[in-house]
Amino acid sequence: MATEENTGIGASVLRKEDRRFITGVGRYTDDIQVSGQTYAAFARSLWARARIDKLDTGVAAAMPGVIGVLTGAEMAADGLGGLPCGWLVKSKDGSDMQQPEHPPLAHTHLNFVGDAFAIVVADTEEHAQGAARALEQSVEVTELTPVVSLADATQSAPIHEALTSNVCYDWEIGDKAACKAGFAVADRVVEVELSNNRLIPNAMEPRAAIAEYSTGTDELTIHTTSQNPHLVRLILAAFVQLAPEHKLRVIAPDVGGGFGSKIFVYSEEVSVAWAAKKLRRPVRWTATRSESFLTDAHGRDHLTKAKLALSSEGKFLAMQVATKANLGAYLSTFASSVPTYLYGTLMAGQYATPAIHVEVQGTFTNTCPVDAYRGAGRPEATFVVERLVEMAARQLRADPAELRRVNFIKPDQFPYQTPVALVYDTGNYEASLSQALQHADYAGFAARQRAAEGRGKLRGIGLSCYIEACGLAPSQLAMNLGAGVGLWESAEIRVNPTGSVVVFTGSHSHGQGHETTFAQVVSSTLGVPFDQVEVVHGDTGRLDFGLGTYGSRSIAVGGSALIRASEKIIAKGKRIAAHLLQAGIDEIDFQDGVFSVQASNQSVTFAEVAFAAYIPNNVPTDEVEPGLAEKAFYDPENFTYPAGTHICEVEVDPETGKIDIIQFVAVDDFGEVINPMIVEGQVHGGLTQGIGQALFERGIYDDNGQLITGSYMDYCMPRADDLPNYVVDTTVTPCTHNPLGVKGCGEAGAIGAPAAVVNAVTHATGMKDISMPLHPEKVWRALQRKRRAA
């Protein structure tokens, strides 16, 4: 196989999918044109909180081009159910979390600016939008006092009348008594109050949906921008009860980025599908960028008080964390799990802290729902841990690298049971730290700092040693903790008679490059040339079931399922080969795409076996069924635990407060790497989002609950010229419990980077703390205060 060497596992194969993406011939939802299509626009709440008194659709319905105006009340009358939250979290006292009603279209109350209450369908986008704006102006409402501030939300009257308070749950994990004991004997206690800024996801492709209903077959087909189309189908069938599952087909074609925001099931795709069925016309909708800002589930938004107890030798004794997490106005699909099981469980970080206790209060406010966004809970946890550790080092006047090192979980301690439920299977934190320190020339920092001083600049260096838990698993454990879905993944491999292969995966690629990496895996295991492996995903009509892509799970869980399916293909291939070679099945070896019998020196190729499977000459079909296609469902034993060290070096201009990132080093342990180039790309993207959170991004509502940062004029995304050239490297401790030894790499950058940046800036300026994003004026003011105090 001439090409195998440079397309196998571990090779930086160029991304197959890029040819179509870069040349503009991808097929995104909005590219799909359907004959007879109509255009939808949504009438949305202009108020953060209001009661609908009267909604008269007459005027809008009579506007030019309008085909239908459908309201939340009609949807409710049609018996459609609400949007569910897929993870039931219990409070400390054992009670279930409080769940507000979440109708896809609001019909009694509006709970955040952008909350949709009617869908307008018209012959053109302009007509639909015109009528939707008219509805927004004409709906009669009683404005109610909104609850906007996270800090005050729990004390305010409930925003949902049916709930007793704005507290969704009061959750905890860890041993409170052990933690208290740790603090009692501590030599030193470091305390911090942190906020984790609300982020707006900003996928390049806005959300979109097109629904077609066939009156002949009663089938409803929805093209939508989803990270997991099977979940959309399941929720629409089982919860919203829009159509039975076997009459629903959900297709997520090319999807231009999600970062979590496209995991969830939203009002719009439900409404578009419902309207298509009701009006018997195909209905399409693509979010404007303004709608994306207002309604794509936001991320993060925590307020946290945390403290760390240390011994006189600088050993971590205990850690205590209390967090208020903003969940927004409704519970989005996985909202409840993010600040709990994806956050509290990560508080051990890379350290052997013996006692940890975490409390989280999930809180409702009149803001856009908050859910998973790249990293989901783990960036927030890393930020708490790594800010505390940094502050401890500064207070103890210890070298931050050294303080981390002495508290690391050591390589011989794996598997390691943390005090917050997780069991880390493997890792070598010392290795990634050392390598990162070298790349960053940590030893030479003092000289660089002096040189910067000469130029009037404040230079600082900051570390972040993060851990994450990827490939959420296993299903049973997660379900015991309240998860409402399984966490396995499916794969199917269909071998064509000519020996080429179609791979179906239940994971979903929306920028990650699965068509390339998954083809590399299958090409390597089956010995089929790389370009004869086609990867299919994102269509409930073509694959059995899948759980999509989130939480850096695809290669660890989806890739493992592929290996299982490949093993079945090889096993069957051996049985066929045994007949063809007239040998015993135990005599057949398979390597590099060739089945061979050592004793007789005879062999058949994979393609020959495939051909024989379909044209079974010399293969008795009563012994071996014809065909060569196999499926596998893989349920992992454990999470995977990517970890690493990020080091950021900055210069601050004390006159203006402006921060320049001079260098950023990321050394990550992702286990085995399938395609180093793609991994590096994932790290670059993640780091950029992490740096974006640290320096630029924040979703801000004013006191009335109006989103102030509703466009790129005010919401600042990081741009290439804000960033240095990253230094990216890896260390490898293979995952111990999946066949590829892989861990996942999609979120690491966003998880590790924020703390590294803030640690660097606090180091440079000598400030104790400063809240993200580090806008120049904020830094300048902090420096002014420090100067005055001195």
């Binding site: 302009e126 006159e655 203006t656 402006k658 320096l695 630029f696 801000i700 102030i708 940062t709 790129y712 004029m713 005010d714 919401y715 600042c716 995304m717 804000d722 806008h775 120049p776 004026e777 300048w780 003011r781």
Partner: protein, 259 residues
């Protein structure tokens, strides 16, 4: 977006004649401000008069001044050998407006007519004692910018060109809004032999001349006690009025030090 009619003027006279007094027709230059405003329903002109064929672009260098036609694109000013030779700081300023797409479409006439408090050109107009030529008259820059998005143009009046005095030295310092990349504060300092001129944009409702600083001369090392009228300073998410005032001082020193 509302419907509008469109016509393309073939000359200055044609453009002005197409205009009526109602204000419902608008000149279309690069469209970088006007078109987004229309799309967002912030503006709803009934007619657009496209100036791109009216012969209003071009750069002319005289003995003491350089004159830039209203329809000259930012990218062309940035790349112009004449501008780089005569007033490199002006080419530098034009090259730092927005992004490449904006610079390829946006024009000096549109920018000046729009009088955005955060736009870059107005600082240079003040700093370089520019004269705004219109179809009817000549307006000195200092009298041109009069309020938030407000200027001395009368309804239907058309900017034809902007004439800048060539300085002995000039420098532009921009502190950009990290999100929009418009100027939070921009300071254009110019020297005419030993006389200094300071134009400030971004800080206040409209670009202004900081005369108090000019008096301190080219060698100035400290401006902290020089008076600066902050009564009409802007304050937003990224910069309070106090911070802007501080930046005006910092950037002025930096610009002056480069003269």
């Amino acid at each position: 977006m509302n419907e509008f009619s469109y016509s393309r003027a073939t000359s200055l006279r044609d453009a002005v004649r197409s205009q009526d007094k109602s204000g419902k027709a608008k000149y279309l230059a690069g469209g970088q401000t006007l078109l987004p405003s229309i799309k967002q329903l912030l503006d709803a002109p009934e007619r657009l008069i496209d100036l791109s064929g009216a012969g209003l672009d071009g750069i002319e260098v005289g003995r003491k001044t350089i004159t830039i036609g209203a329809m000259t694109r930012h990218a062309d000013v940035a790349a112009s050998a004449q501008v780089r030779e005569a007033i490199p700081a002006l080419a530098d300023l034009a090259g730092r407006i927005g992004d490449a797409q904006v610079r390829n479409r946006g024009t000096i006439g549109g920018s000046v007519a729009n009088s955005d408090p955060a736009a870059d050109y107005p600082a240079a107009l003040i700093g370089l004692c520019a004269i705004v030529h219109t179809n009817a008259r000549k307006i000195p820059a200092e009298k041109f910018f009069v309020g938030l998005f407000q200027n001395a143009l009368k309804s239907g009046e058309l900017i034809t060109k902007v004439e800048f005095e060539i300085p002995t030295g000039a420098a532009y310092e921009k502190f950009a809004n990290p999100a929009s990349r418009y100027a939070i504060v921009g300071v254009f300092a110019a020297s005419f032999d030993h006389v200094m001129r300071i134009g400030v944009t971004g800080a206040a409702h409209f670009a202004f001349r900081w005369a108090e600083a000019e008096g301190h001369g080219l060698g100035v090392k400290d401006l902290s006690n020089v008076s600066l009228d902050q009564s009409r300073f802007n304050s937003d998410l990224y910069a309070s009025a106090t911070y802007r005032a501080h930046l005006v001082r910092v950037l002025t020193l930096r610009a002056v030090s480069r003269l």
